[in-house]
C-alpha cells in the first residue's frame, strides 16, 4: 500500500505566481501533508504560510498544534521580514503580523495491530475531506458551504495576536484504508466542494481526475469556475492524497 500525493495551485485571477499567498508541503516519508492560506491583506503572509506547512511536515508541530511550538517560527518570520530596512507602511504591516489558515494531516500505521489511523489539526477555513467508496465520510474542520465567512480564525506570526486562538485549534481523526482519497483544500475550493455536495453532486470525481490523461487541467477547471462565478477569486490550492494498493 502506498500513499500518493499530488498538489495543485493557482493564484488569484489578475495576480502573478509570486503573489500566490497559499502554501503546501508533503513530508518526504509521505506521512504528513499540510496546506495553509496566507491572509492576503496582511504582508509577508506567504512566508508565514510556508513556515507553518514546512514545520508541520517536519514534525515540529504537534496534533493539535500547541501555541508554544509557534515561537521559533515567529522568530524566524521576524528575521525574514526585517532582513532589509522597511518603509513606514511595511514596518506597520509587519508589526500587525501575518496570518494564515492551516490544515495538516498525519497518517500512522501499526503493522502489528493492523491499525491505520489518521489525525489532523486545523485553524480557520482550510479543509480536509476523506472520501471512501464514493462517499464523503469525513469533512474537517468545516463541512458546509455556509460556514465560510470573511473573518476566519487564523494563526498569527505575532504572539500577541494569538492570545485567544488556542480554543480555535481543532483536531480530528479516523481510520484510513486502501483506496481512500483525502483532499486538502484552501477555502475557496473547499467552499465550492461543499456547495456541490449540498446540491447532490460528487465533486471529488472532478478533483480525482484533474490533470490525468484526457481530463481538464486544474488551471482550466478553476478558470472556468471563476468565469461562471461559482468560486471566489482567491488563491486556490488542492492536495490530493490517494491510498493506492
Amino acid at each position: 500500500m502506498e500513499i500518493y500525493a499530488k498538489d495543485f495551485f493557482l493564484p488569484k485571477r489578475g495576480n502573478t505566481e509570486a503573489e500566490y499567498d497559499d502554501s503546501f508541503s508533503s513530508a518526504k516519508d509521505k506521512t504528513r501533508f499540510a496546506v495553509a492560506d496566507g491572509a492576503t491583506e496582511a504582508s509577508f503572509s506567504r512566508e508565514w504560510a510556508k513556515q507553518l506547512v514546512r514545520a508541520f511536515t517536519a514534525k515540529k508541530l504537534s496534533i493539535p498544534i500547541a501555541l508554544d511550538e509557534l515561537k521559533p517560527l515567529q522568530s524566524k518570520w521576524q528575521k525574514f521580514v526585517h532582513r532589509h530596512p522597511l518603509p513606514w507602511y511595511a514596518e506597520e504591516k509587519a508589526n500587525t503580523g501575518a496570518f494564515a489558515a492551516f490544515v495538516g494531516v498525519e497518517f500512522l500505521e501499526d503493522a502489528q495491530e493492523s491499525l491505520k489511523i489518521w489525525r489532523a489539526t486545523a485553524v480557520g477555513d482550510s479543509c480536509l475531506v476523506q472520501v471512501r467508496a464514493n462517499e464523503v465520510i469525513e469533512a474537517f474542520p468545516l463541512a458546509h458551504s455556509t460556514s465560510f465567512g470573511n473573518r476566519p480564525n487564523l494563526l498569527s506570526s505575532t504572539p500577541n495576536s494569538n492570545e485567544s486562538i488556542a480554543e480555535f485549534v481543532m483536531q480530528c481523526g479516523g481510520f484510513w484504508r486502501c483506496e481512500d482519497a483525502f483532499f486538502l483544500m484552501t477555502d475557496a475550493l473547499a467552499c465550492w466542494f461543499f456547495q456541490e455536495l449540498e446540491q447532490g453532486n460528487k465533486p471529488w470525481t472532478i478533483l480525482r481526475d484533474l490533470d490525468t490523461q484526457g481530463s481538464v487541467s486544474f488551471q482550466k477547471f478553476i478558470d472556468d469556475l471563476r468565469f461562471e462565478g461559482r468560486i471566489k477569486n482567491d488563491d486556490a490550492t488542492l492536495m490530493r492524497i490517494d491510498i493506492m494498493p
Partner: protein, 279 residues
C-alpha cells in the same frame, strides 16, 4: 448587483476627500475632544485615513494601486490640498501617496504588552495634510471641482467600484446651497453604481453625536439637515459593515456623521473606505 465590482490594479477605484478649511475650523469641537481645534482634529483624521488606505493596499512587494486618492481643500481658495511633494496634484495613485508623505512624525501609541498590561510604543505617523483654518466655506465650488475630476476618472475607469467622496465640514456653505452641486456628484455613475457622497459634520455645538441616521429628525439645525439630505444612502453591504462595527445603521441609513468624536469619524470613514474585496 451594484457596489460589487472587484477592486484590482487593473480596475482601481477612487477616493476624494473634500476638507473645509474655513476660519471657523479654528474653533474647538463641540463633542468629545476637549479643546482640540476642528482643523487639527480633521487633519489628524485625514492623515490617519490616508495611512489606513495605504496599509490596506500594502503587500510584501510594496503598495498595490487599488485606489487613486484626491484631497481638495476649501477655504480662502479651492484646490488640491496635499502638502509636500504631492502639492498641487488632483488624483494620486495610492502607491505614490504611501511613498511621498510630506514628512513622517514620531508619535506613540498604547499597545497590549502581552502580559495584561499596556505599554507605549513609538510609531511613525506619516503626514500628507496640514491643518488650515482661514476664509469662507465655498463648499459648492469644492463639490463642482470634485465632480469635474471624477467625470474624467469615470471616463477612464467606466467599470470601477464607484468613487467615494467624503466631505468634512463644520456646516454652512458660504457660496450658496450645495444641494445642486451634490446632486450632480451623486448622478455620476460607473457600471457598478452611482458615486457615493458621504458627509462628516464637525459642529462646535454641544449636541448629541449621530452616525448613519436614516432620518433628519433629531438633527439640531438646518445645516446638519441639509448635509444629511445631500448624503448618499449606504449601499446594503456598507450598512451591514457599519452594523458589525456597532453603528445603528438601519435601512435607509445615510453616509452622514454629525458631531462625532474623531475616533468615531475615523471608524465611520473606515467603513466608507472598506468596500468589497481587493485583489
Amino acid at each position: 448587483m451594484a457596489y460589487s465590482a472587484e477592486i484590482s490594479r487593473a480596475n482601481p477605484s477612487c477616493f476624494m476627500f473634500l476638507i473645509d478649511q474655513s476660519g471657523s475650523m479654528g474653533d474647538a469641537f463641540g463633542a468629545g475632544e476637549g479643546n482640540q481645534k476642528k482643523a487639527d482634529g480633521v487633519a489628524d483624521a485625514i492623515n490617519r485615513l490616508l495611512q489606513n488606505l495605504v496599509l490596506k493596499c500594502a503587500r510584501d512587494e510594496g503598495i498595490r494601486d487599488f485606489f487613486h486618492v484626491g484631497v481638495i481643500g476649501y477655504g480662502v481658495q479651492v484646490g488640491p490640498a496635499f502638502s509636500g511633494a504631492l502639492a498641487g496634484r488632483q488624483l494620486v495613485p495610492i502607491s505614490e501617496v504611501g511613498n511621498s508623505p510630506a514628512r513622517v512624525e514620531q508619535r506613540s501609541k498604547k499597545v497590549p504588552d502581552g502580559a495584561g498590561g499596556i505599554v507605549e510604543q513609538p510609531v511613525r505617523f506619516p503626514v500628507w495634510f496640514d491643518p488650515v483654518a482661514n476664509g469662507g466655506t465655498p463648499m459648492s465650488q469644492a463639490l463642482g471641482q470634485a465632480k469635474s475630476i471624477l467625470e474624467t476618472w469615470l471616463s477612464q475607469h467606466p467599470n470601477c467600484f464607484p468613487p467615494i467622496v467624503i466631505n468634512i465640514t463644520d456646516g454652512e456653505a458660504s457660496d450658496g446651497d450645495p444641494t445642486g452641486a451634490a446632486d450632480e456628484i451623486r448622478k455620476l455613475q460607473s457600471s457598478d453604481g452611482g458615486v457615493l457622497l458621504f458627509n462628516v459634520h464637525c459642529s462646535s455645538q454641544r449636541a448629541q453625536p449621530i452616525s448613519f441616521a436614516s432620518t433628519d429628525a433629531g438633527l439640531p439645525d438646518q445645516f446638519a439637515q441639509q448635509l444629511f439630505r445631500i448624503s448618499s444612502v449606504l449601499p446594503p453591504q456598507m450598512a451591514r459593515l457599519a452594523q458589525t462595527e456597532g453603528f445603528n445603521a438601519t435601512e435607509g441609513a445615510r453616509g452622514f456623521v454629525f458631531n462625532a468624536g474623531m475616533v468615531e469619524v475615523i471608524k465611520a470613514l473606515d467603513i466608507g473606505t472598506r468596500p468589497s474585496a481587493m485583489r
